[in-house]
Symmetry: C2
Subunit: 368 residues, 2 copies
Amino acid sequence: MKRSNMDLIDPWGSIEIENYEKLFEEFGIQRMDGLVDKLPCKPSFIRRGIIFGHRDFERIVEAINKQQPFAVMSGIKPTGPLHIGTILTLREMIFFQKLGGVVFYCIADIEAYEDNGIPLEESEKIALDNVVDALALGLDPSRSYIYRQSKENDVKDLAIILARAVTLSTMEAIYGVRHMGLYMSALIQVGDILLPQLKRFGGPKPTLVPVGIDQDPHIRLCRDLAHKFKEKYGFILPSATYHKIIRGLDGSSKMSKRNPMSYFTLTEDVESITFKLKNAFTGGRPTAKEQRTLGGEPEKCPIFDLYKFFFVEDDDKLLETYWRCKTGDMLCGEDKAFAIEVVTSFIKEHQERRKAFIDKSREILNLD
Amino acid sequence: MKRSNMDLIDPWGSIEIENYEKLFEEFGIQRMDGLVDKLPCKPSFIRRGIIFGHRDFERIVEAINKQQPFAVMSGIKPTGPLHIGTILTLREMIFFQKLGGVVFYCIADIEAYEDNGIPLEESEKIALDNVVDALALGLDPSRSYIYRQSKENDVKDLAIILARAVTLSTMEAIYGVRHMGLYMSALIQVGDILLPQLKRFGGPKPTLVPVGIDQDPHIRLCRDLAHKFKEKYGFILPSATYHKIIRGLDGSSKMSKRNPMSYFTLTEDVESITFKLKNAFTGGRPTAKEQRTLGGEPEKCPIFDLYKFFFVEDDDKLLETYWRCKTGDMLCGEDKAFAIEVVTSFIKEHQERRKAFIDKSREILNLD
């Protein structure tokens, strides 16, 4: 694989992935065709192609339909409050948990330290906040193993054992020239993904890792190592589903901590969110007159993205919004008022729901 | 520092260090001058300049003389029975333990895995054997913390935390292009050296690491990281003493597992050791006649090295042997007979002493 291609997907960068087609051709990511219909139900992120590709997802579909054990593994880097983009992964986890999966949810505090310099003592508080969000969104803690990476010795030990099969050039090709801590954190993440297959958790099993497409390098590294250590551990190669990345509210390619106007968080003041939505980039035209004549461009619009990804579950309603914009029938002012209404009412409810999960979350993280 | 210089010292290689002078000039290793006389007593490895250099050893001398706490840290890579060369480090540890140091003795099973591919399950048995040797040589377990690297989470955590300050080029410069596991093991070894300074063991303290000169790259990396994390942990830069490397019995520059005729182990059959000594390279001349005329060359002789490093504690006796060889008064046959006698009687006693320490060693390593 050429370096230039590897560069295309960078989990720690913010490179826009303009052409999803390339991923199928050059990286061997598979299309969802045929598999979607085998699922017992189809939430909006599947119907709308937000999950657009996979690796070995058929293994998970089979486990679901035969009611065999499988794991759903994901995590969060505790660098701050969960932003709206991250709830997509959580919704996927909750969905597959309801279909029979056991969830492994990693608080990637080592990665938060290596990549962002956040000391473990500090990320502990952030982690609590993140876990409260996850439970308030519907993650069932009774069918979840939620853990802090830094406290999970099996994960570190897997990293140490698997590292022997990783060449330096593999690390450089995937992650570029970075410090040793980041490489270690990448290997520890491989340990996280394989953790559900250890004897302690019942041994080898299909494992789904629902990720943003920018995380594919981790998946490839992990599958490569799972293959190399198949004999020792009996690993089944982990499966992955890939979702598209939601645009920043400011029109940037990705919501980013570096740019607070590009996103809002689940615990943010409703006033602040309203301000950001009012000032968001849209697919509107320079003047109202032009927009009435030419119509808007919802396919370029972060506000429409919010509906499509999260806030409008009903497809007819989404289509209606799309066409009213496209035909110039609805201008951005009216649309934004609607966005502010649905978003802030969701956020208010969520913030209210959170209160019931604080004690449980402290308990899960063993905090005093 | 130029790469060509860094290559000079390679802890995993077997490059002969021909010119110790270079180490003082180019690597900043300090001479022992002035410090030796401040020690309350001088064992042969100090009197004879086998320990020939140091970094910040004055800090340890001060702690000894003021009876302040200090640690002595070393370890063994459990790849097989201890060979005779490794007992030098053990003797140094035992010596400094008697002068008040608390010993930290690491069974470097992670390194044995990364560097030699020995699974942790297997090195466990080897470790037992190594610990029995250490105790039989006189290590006092009541003033020692003996641990397996793979079981010591604080060590792994230090590696993870410190790794953030290590660039890839540092690793390449010190260790060359190796797999990720070896780099991780190098960082874990840094964790080992700093372990005695954690709060759990009473916090920052002078720490002496007695090593073969080939281990200096680890020391430099560790001191660099101790400095970088001084503020967070209060680390005192670890001190090191450097000893010369004993020649192989076959005349090679270093005793090496790859060449069984170059060394013997502490648990080897006396017959096998006798055979190796009989066939050892010496500083003798091609014919007896020549040797009587020209004299032997003890400074090139591995048998004389054995006396100097380990088996002749009395300086007068050593000098007598030296001159009898040098003047041609004693030929290699007579000398080897003497060597066989002192070595095998030491080995027999050691093997007898071992029996009393097996249970204690099992207990230390938590083996059933």
